[in-house]
């Protein structure tokens, strides 16, 4: 599942023709397949999103960014992931000025300290995963509209 260094072919992304000029590319960093499915499902409802890439942890996301395999307009990042979790991914993103796309932390955690830590590390939004795709769709759309 995880891409190996230099193997661009393993990138897990969806790209479909889009008629909008402001077509967006979204990076989803999420280790749980079921959650990733639901996030993609919600994103696909948004006609402004043209490309969705799904990395399974922070390391994979950084690898793709480093190799310029992806050029996201926004990243949706889970916190609890193997190899490199969301908090340390946020730190790495902040260290590279060229990766200045906004970030949305989407986690099952409701803990205030997770929200605070995420914001301190530069996350633009902190969201707790909702119960339905409908809610997820409206939360993400609302966040992206504000960017």
């Amino acid at each position: 599942m995880t891409s190996q260094a230099g193997t661009a072919s393993t990138i897990n992304s969806e790209d479909w023709s889009c008629v909008f000029d402001d077509a967006m590319e979204v990076l989803v960093v999420e280790d749980d397949e079921a959650d990733a499915f639901l996030i993609r499902k919600a994103l696909r409802r948004n006609p402004h999103i043209a490309r969705i890439s799904h990395a399974h942890d922070g390391l994979e996301a950084l690898d793709w960014l480093d190799k310029k395999l992806i050029n996201p307009d926004v990243a949706i990042i889970d916190l609890h992931m193997p190899k490199k979790n969301g908090h340390s991914l946020l730190i790495e993103l902040r260290c590279r000025p060229e990766w200045d796309f906004p970030t949305i932390v989407l986690t099952s955690s409701k803990a205030r300290e997770d929200a605070t830590r995420s914001r301190l590390r530069g996350a633009n939004y902190f969201m707790t995963k909702p119960d339905t795709v409908d809610e997820l769709d409206s939360m993400l759309t609302h966040a992206m509209r504000g960017m």
Partner: protein, 367 residues
Amino acid sequence: MFTKAEELLSVVVDTAVDGVILIDAKGIILVFNPACERLFGYSAGMVIGQNVKVLMPAPFHAEHDSYLSNYHRTGERKIIGIGREVVGRRMDGTTFPMELAVGEATREGEKLFVGTIHDITERKQAEEQRRLFIEQLTASNEERGHFSYVASHDLQEHLRMVLSFNTLLLEEYGPKLDSQGREYLTLSLNAARHMRELVADLLEYTRLGSDQERERPFDASAEMDLVLESLEALIHDSGAEIDVDPLPFLFGNPVRFRRLLQNLMGNAIKYVPPQVSPRLRITVHHDGDFWKFVVSDNGIGIDRLYFKKIFEPFQRLHGKAQYSGTGLGLTICKKIVAGFGGDIWVESEPGTGSNFCFTVKKSRLAA
């Protein structure tokens, strides 16, 4: 020859249950009564004439001389005239805790010290057992709290998936199912939603015991405004009329206070007979060191039999179809009120409404 008084005095010393020991200014033992013999295992003959240090374990053994000379020089007392818990050393080298009281006398220009010794081994053992018991109890409580928290959190995660995918199933495949299939799916979704509420309440209940949220002075009226805002839909739909006294400043966790009011007022709105609009009145009174809050309603009321039971976990008096709920709302209230140093109870009669009363300790910090 002894005088009568001297004879009686020696009877006192010889039969005293506690150890009695007499030493001179240099610490030499002059009298060692039978109780002391039992306590220390030495016979009087073995220790009379020896320094009292022989009855002390290290490091007191080594320090005693300097303690005595320091006392003679400066008058600084550590035990003399005061009494304290120290450790005694038996002839076989074992030690035991004892309470030592020392009185001072002067006879023919020489200072003398009388020590009375009470063996406190049993008391110390009981204290230690109690301490261990409390330690174990605290640890097991903490472990249980942590376990429930983790279990509830993980349960919530899986339930979120069940809800998400069942909702998708109903949305995307609902039209392909017949009405019975859709009903099954709706029932399973409702069950998952109910379980979600239940787990959320369980999670909150276990959190109440574990996290140390910051306490501060707060305006209960401002919290009440937020409660009314959060209950807005329920109030609107039920046509509830709510009358609230001006509320005082309190000290504690305002979020928990809000939850307390939310639960009590939510119940008052929910538990009304069909076709009746809820009428609530929230009053507050001085009650010594406490504020007494009363949430009065015109609801279905509660039989006296259940006055205590309703505050226990998962005690529901009605079917879920009739009145929804998780059975934890009032249990959470009880725990919150305990955190405010108060008590919660109900006064009610079936058919005439209920008064839910709770007290909150007044605090100078909140004034």
